[in-house]
Each structure stands twice: as structure tokens, then as C-alpha cells.
Amino acid sequence: MKLSTEILVLGGGATGLGAAWDAALRGFKTVALEKGDLAHGASGRYHGLLHSGGRYVIRDPQSARECAAENALLRKIIPSAIEDTGGFFVTTPADPADYADQFLAACKTCSVPVAEIKPAEALKREPLLNPKISRALCVHDASCDSFDALHLLAGAVKAADGEVMLRHRVTEIIKSRDRVVGVAGENLTTGEHFTIYADIILNCAGAWAGRIAEMAGCEVKVTPGKGVMIAMNTRLVNTAINRCKPPDDGDILVPVGTVSIIGTTDTAVPDPDKFAVEDWEVELLMAEGEQLIPSFRQHRALRAWAGVRPLYEDTKPPPGGGSEPPGGSRAKDSRLMSRAHALLDHETRDGVAGMLSMVGGKFTTFRHMAELLVDAACAKLNTERKCTTKNTLVEPAGTKLHTLSKRLSNLEGVTQHATRPPDYSATRPPDALICECELVTRAQIEQHVRESGSPIINDLRRDLRLGMGPCQAGFCAYRAAGIVHETLRLSNTNVNSQLKQFLQERWKGERPLMWGHSLRSLELDLHIYKNIFGVDTLPTERETEVYPTERTS
């Protein structure tokens, strides 16, 4: 396959899709490429917090200001992906007592909205919270489902005549003299080779941005900063809870969907494709969780995973376009490395024209980063087109912010579950609930599989949250495999491979947490899939991949 475009975006995370959406809205012919599924990298593996800015007010005021502004904007643009949980910064006995006052003052300076409430009031709202907290400061944190957000963005790119191509891996950057003119690579679904020529390439590959730059002959040092998170199997809190202290491991608990997520650790790793969740990280997060919620360890830890933050280390002086990263570069502790973004113009920086890179940054400010990047692209292409993403709604006007109860009302809307009294004369059975934990129905799966044509059950997980709840796909994986088989009429060996791969993928995140109920659950799952279904006796098309991101310890 060969095609040409004006703007080619590399990376299907928040930054990449944000840039593709922005560029398409400005009328550029736009293509975005992603080597995995949407949100394959850090966008799909973070704790789900839409930052109020509070976390950055002291160390990184610029980021704090941007977060506060973007938080308010995103609530309007992609409301159905955002739940307005609000956030607290609480001072536990383990936190410095004077930090809260510094925090309040810094919030004012950075225009980050904040209000102090009495600890008793905070405890009333969040009964499981540590009763020994001495301060409670309310901020505008929210919880954002990045899979939903990126799906909406991908839809918006397509609606603006742009293209998003998933599972397309770039293997070569094509240059003509000192100019980047296109990319070549492989469509991982079909094995087909592709070449795409572009007027300009926007490198938004996150933790992989350094590799892309290297293919173009530029040195960009992006340190993958591994952050480990653990999902607890219930919403222990309904508000995002931050520790009121300098950023540190395990300082935040975010309610996301039916679970709550504690995060994170922060260690630099050499390779964004190879890292493991270590026992010490799990122990540390469980211990920090107890500072926020004294009964933390009594709750079941459901799943652990790690994401890689793209932390940019500036190896060359910024040529003017990029913001100076605060916090100092080459820090050994990757937590001290900047979370700020940097825009790299490879023409002035490295003498390679035709490519810009956006590195670093965070999910909350993706729209802003995209705007800066496409502004710079316009300058390179000698055209003046105004950014409109600030005022363009991805969803119909009047769409409400997400609420937890929405899933139930959706279900009642599409099925007969709500029929009162039950209509016994109906011959059609109710639309079956396939994933009871996350309320995913048969009709949703069929529709999704038909639209995507993808038999990958893990994609159903990202898109519909299938198998993400307390049973971790113990019951729904078999049901979903049957539906995929019937809907796509694929070979049984292909579906068997998908089922085994999905089970392996679920296991990856459970393995670091094998104590208490999780081990019980494993024994049940093994019993179901090995004994009842004999999955190990099924013929498969290929070997199950064991991802290198599993624990090594």
C-alpha cells in the first residue's frame, strides 16, 4: 500500500490523536499511525486522573496552569469520558504539616481552583479515609477513561476526514537528502508492507519517540519512566484522593469505573517494551494505600500494571520553540525529571527537515500540546490556519459528564432487562449480559466486532471494558470467544488463539497480586478454563505470546 498525505502523525495515544484531530480540523489531509491498538502506550496505562493542576503547583507552575485550563476545556469537549469525581489533597500524619499552606498559596499563584474543607466534612464524604487527616483541600480533579476519550477522538478524526490506522508499525523513516519525506512499515494485521509520503511528520510516539527520531537520524533522549499502578476491586472512594506532600510513590487513589486505582511508582527503565511489576513496588503501593485508607489491605487487589511515561531529557539547548524543562535534566530519580512537554524542531535542532517531535507531557494537556505542535507544523508548511479544538465539541452539545450509574441506564435502554412486569409472551430472550462485572451485553460485543472486524478479545476489553471487573474475565472470556466466532465466522483455531491470548493477557496483570482472594480467583479460573473447557486441548493457530512486560523478579 502506498499513499500520500499532508500531515502524518506517528502515535495513537492522546498526543497523537489530539494532533491528528487538530490537523484534520484545520483542513489538512491527515493520517495517524499506531503500532498497537488505540492507547497502547502510556495513555492506556495511567491511573485515569484528569489533573486539576494541584499536583504540580509547587514544583512545576507552568504545568499546573496548563492542567487547570485544559481540565476545564476537556470537560466540555469530551464529557462522556470524564467523571466529575472532584479531588482532595489530604494531610495524613505521615505528611509534612506545613505543606498544605504552601500548597494553598501556590494554587492561588497558578490559578488552580482550591477550597479547604474541614477534615470532618471530608470524612463524611469519604468514610473509608484515614480519620487522622488534619487538612483537606478540594480541587477540580476528575477521572477520565482514556479508552473512551481516545475512541471519541479517533471518531472525531474520521469525522473531519482524517484517517487513523491501527496496528501499523513504522520500520523506516524515508529521507531525501536532509529531509524526511515519508515512512515505511508493516501492517501487523495483514503483514502487508506500506509506504506513506507526507509533507510533514509529527512524531507523537511517547516513550517510543526517541526510536522514531533515531530512525530519522536525530538524537532525542526519551527516558521511559515506569509507573506501577494497582486497581483495587471496588470504589474505595468516590473522590480522587491525593496526599498533600511533594509528589511521591503511591500518593494518589483515583476512582475509575467500578474500581479504584492507586498510583504510582516511578523508576527509569531502559526499554519501553521490557519492564516488569516488581514485588517491592506492589508492597510499597499497598503500604502507601494504608496511609490514605487504613483498611486498604483488607480489600482485594485486582490487577497491577505499569505504564511508561515519556520523560524527555534535553540533550541540546532548546531552539526557542520548546519550553525549558524545569526540575533539571539527567536526574537519576525519574520522578524528578520534568513532566513538561517539549516541542522539537528537528530542522533547527538537528538539520533534518520535515519532522517535528512532541515529547514528554501528560494526558491532561494533550489538546494543548497538539495545538502547539500543529501551529508549528503550519509555520513549516507556510500556511496560517487557526486552531479550533478549543471550541470544537467532540460530542453533541448537551452531552453530560459520565456518571457511574450511566452504565445501568444504558443497559435499561438497550435491553429488556427493564421490562416491568416481565413480558412472558415475548419469544426473544433478553439481550444477554456477557460481562456481568462491567455490564457488557451481547449486542454491544456483536456490534463492536462487526464494526472493527477484529477478533482480538483484548480490543473488546479496551473498548467495552469487557473482563476488567472483579472476575477478570473468568466468566466472560469464553462467552465472548463464542460471540466473536459466531459473528465474524472466523476459523476456530484463530478464535482459540485469541481466547488463550486474552486469558494470558489477563493473567499478566493478576500475577503480581497472588494472595488472598486473588489466588482463590486464579484457582477458579484455572478450574474453568483447564478442567471444564479443556482450553489446553484446543487447536490454535499460533503460540500464545508471553509479553515481556511481565514480572521478572
Binding site: D279, R428, T537, P539
Partner: protein, 419 residues
């Protein structure tokens, strides 16, 4: 009131031990936190998968429960269990040393030793073509996927040819859509919902009327999910088979497991009919005093001591709560706090592959030939205490296909030594 025998746990091993003791005239109490593993099982009795040499190997593997039980006791246990099932009107088919290969609900295969009559026609080594029934709207059985996979099962070429019809293998195993009259409209059905309907003769008459016209020109051996009645399964199968002119067979599906529940019910009834007492609900705690086991049960804060000459611990493995893995990397036996040796690092408990084999499967209590739990020095912890079933160390039940055989054999052996 003092008992001759107190059994903690109401799974297959606990109930069977209870039946054996009650049948010997012993005053027996079974006390359990909840219902045991029967409800998440397959309702079949696996002893050892593979050819007969596998069982011989296990019988001579030191520390394997089978080597402690011995062939003679294992055989006696199986015979007694079969006799109880016959008496209950739910005879099992099969014999020790011979495995039956059954289809799974995903279209894989599973070897097991004793199966209920409701599963017999599914024996994959039996001649004759078969079909699978799709029950529309019932989410726990995918006939299409199972049929597609079963068509690829590597049996003998003759058997494969025979399964997939008269002509060629390529035709594969067909599926037939058999709609259920009055599907529940207010929520999804579980296996138990359908089983309760199949128990009703009137409902079966409606099924027959609806299915009859759909069954011309299809193979006569028809597999369907295991929902053929909870209390009257044998009657339900006979009724449907003779009226429809087919041979139905059940395939175990996602829990709840109806065939397993039948085993629970028949063992419970047998135990109670022989004078046994069953209490389900309290939290049971035990302690060792002067070398003897003593048991108390806590029902919503009301604690009652139970006196018994002998105590059998049949609380199961991790899944059923007999063993508890702690965050700190220790493994605890849940009633008496007996020692359970295990590596200190949690990462050594499991395999990086989901399907294992996982080292934790072999964790459990070490016992001697009398089923007495042993301390680190290899001495019995309490003279009157026995442990049986899935709580015992030394077996990977899933890989060996030995779960139920161990349950029955160790129960038999323990009762032999105390009653």
C-alpha cells in the same frame, strides 16, 4: 452432645466421609462455612487422566495422596461411591483404570473416569455421528465454537469419521438450534434456572412439541449444556430421549454446575438418611489442646463448642477456603492454623503462563498414611485429627485429572482409621 466424628467441610470429600461414617453407625456431624466444590465442579469423577500407567505412577509417587491411600482403598472408595449413587437412583458409568473422553463446552476434550448416565452418549470414542444443540439466548454454551473445535479433535481416524457423519470429516459436527419455550425475560438464565424447568414434566412436554419438528435429518446423539434437571435428571433424559427418538448428552459448562449439585444433593440425602447431621453457615475454628483437636463454631457471634472423638478437616484448597495465602507470603490453614510449607517469595508460587502448571497447586498439608496432618518433624499434630481432599499437599489435581479420586480415596482412608 458428643459426636463420634466431626467433619469440617461439605464438599465431595467431607460429604463422602460423612456418608461412610454414618453408614457405619457413627454419630457424625458435618459442619461447614458454606457449600463446597461440587457446585463449581464438572459433576464427574476424575481419578487420573491419560492411560492406566498414569495412575500407577501417582500411586507410587512418594507424598502423593494416592501413594498414601493405596490402590486397594482407592478402589474400595470408588466402589462405595458408585453404590451410593446407584441407591440414590443416579447411577454413574465407568470404572477405575479406564478413562472416558468427553467433549468440553469449548470443544476441547477431557478425560475422566466416572460419569453420569446423562453424559454417556457424549463419549467421543463411541461410534456414530453427533450434533450439538444451541439454546438461543443461553449465554453459557457456544455450540458453534464447540462444534467447530470438536470437528478437529484428534481421535482415531475411524472415530473422527464416525463422529462427523457418514461421509467425510470436512462436513464437521453440525449444530441444531433448539429454542427454549418461555425464556426468562427479566434476567439471564443460569444453568440452574434451566435445570429447574427441565425437572418439570409439563415443561418437557412443551420442549418435545417444540423440538420434534427440528430433529428430523440430524444425528441422533445430541449434546447440550448440562441443564437436564436438578432433582429428576435421569427421568428427564429418559422422557426426552424416548419422546424425541434421540440420545441427549450433557456437557458441563460454566458454574453453577448442575451435575455437581446433583452429587451434592445425593450425598447430603444419603448422609442425613443414615442419621448424620449437617450444619452449613457458621465460621469454624479449631485448636489443638493436649495433642487433640477441638472445634468451635461461631454463628453470628454465638460461639458453640462441639465435642467429638475424631475430627476430619475437609475444607479444600485455596478456592474453597481451606488454605489462605497471606500478603506477607505465608500460607495458612484456615481452621487450625496448621503449618503449610511454601516458598517465601510469592513469585515462586505461580507460573508466568496462565495455564500453568503452577507450583501453588501442590501446596497443602502433609499427612501420613492415616491421613494425620504432620508437623515439620513428620510427627502427627493431633492424635484425633485427619485431613482429606484438596487441602492435601503433593498433587497437581488439574494436570493429573485426579481431584475427585483424591477426595474420595482420602475420605475413605481417613474414615477407615477413625470409625
Amino acid at each position: 452432645m458428643a459426636y463420634d466424628l466431626l467433619i469440617i467441610g461439605a464438599g465431595l470429600s467431607g460429604l463422602f466421609a460423612g456418608c461412610l461414617a454414618a453408614r457405619r453407625g457413627k454419630k457424625t456431624l458435618i459442619i461447614a462455612r458454606g457449600i463446597g466444590g461440587t457446585h463449581v465442579g464438572t459433576g464427574t469423577i476424575g481419578i487420573a487422566s491419560g492411560d492406566p500407567s498414569t495412575l500407577n505412577t501417582l500411586l507410587s509417587t512418594p507424598e502423593h495422596p494416592y501413594s498414601l491411600v493405596g490402590r486397594k482403598a482407592l478402589k474400595a472408595a470408588i466402589e462405595q461411591f458408585k453404590a451410593i449413587c446407584v441407591e440414590a437412583g443416579y447411577p454413574l458409568h465407568g470404572e477405575i483404570g479406564k478413562n472416558i473422553t468427553l467433549p468440553t463446552a469449548a470443544g476441547g476434550t477431557r478425560q475422566t473416569c466416572l460419569i453420569s448416565k446423562t453424559m454417556c452418549a457424549g463419549d467421543l470414542n463411541r461410534r456414530g455421528p453427533l450434533a450439538l444443540a444451541n439454546l438461543p439466548g443461553f449465554r453459557d454454551f457456544s455450540a458453534a465454537l464447540a462444534a467447530a473445535n470438536l470437528s478437529h479433535v484428534t481421535l482415531s481416524r475411524e472415530a473422527a469419521k464416525s463422529l462427523s457423519g457418514t461421509n467425510a470429516n470436512e462436513a464437521g459436527i453440525p449444530t441444531i438450534t433448539l429454542p427454549l419455550p418461555h425464556p426468562p425475560t427479566h434476567r439471564d438464565s443460569y444453568a440452574t434456572d434451566l435445570a429447574l424447568l427441565f425437572d418439570l414434566p409439563g415443561y418437557r412436554d412443551e420442549l418435545i412439541a417444540a423440538w420434534q419438528p427440528l430433529l428430523t435429518d440430524v444425528p441422533k446423539r445430541i449434546g447440550l449444556p448440562a441443564v437436564l434437571g436438578l432433582e429428576h435428571a435421569v427421568e428427564a433424559k429418559q422422557h426426552l430421549d424416548s419422546a424425541l427418538g434421540v440420545e441427549l448428552f450433557e456437557i458441563p459448562i460454566l458454574p453453577p454446575c448442575v451435575p455437581g449439585m446433583r452429587l451434592f444433593n445425593l450425598l447430603r440425602d444419603d448422609f442425613q438418611n443414615h442419621g448424620g447431621r449437617l450444619i452449613i453457615g457458621p465460621v469454624v475454628s479449631g485448636r489443638i489442646e493436649n495433642g487433640r483437636a477441638a472445634v468451635a463454631a461461631d454463628t453470628n457471634g454465638r460461639v458453640k463448642e462441639y465435642k467429638a472423638e475424631a475430627v476430619i478437616l475437609a475444607t479444600g484448597g485455596f478456592l474453597n477456603g481451606g488454605l489462605v495465602a497471606e500478603f506477607d507470603g505465608k500460607i495458612r490453614e484456615s481452621v487450625f492454623g496448621l503449618p503449610v510449607p511454601a516458598p517465601a517469595k510469592r513469585s515462586e508460587w505461580t507460573s508466568e503462563l496462565f495455564l500453568g502448571p503452577h507450583p501453588f497447586a501442590r501446596f497443602g498439608l502433609r499427612v501420613n498414611k492415616n491421613m494425620q496432618p504432620l508437623n515439620a518433624d513428620g510427627k502427627p499434630i493431633a492424635s484425633n485429627l485427619r485431613a482429606i481432599g484438596s487441602i492435601l499437599a503433593g498433587a497437581d489435581r488439574l494436570s493429573e485429572g485426579s481431584r475427585e479420586g483424591i477426595e474420595l480415596g482420602t475420605a475413605w482412608r481417613a474414615v477407615e482409621t477413625v470409625a
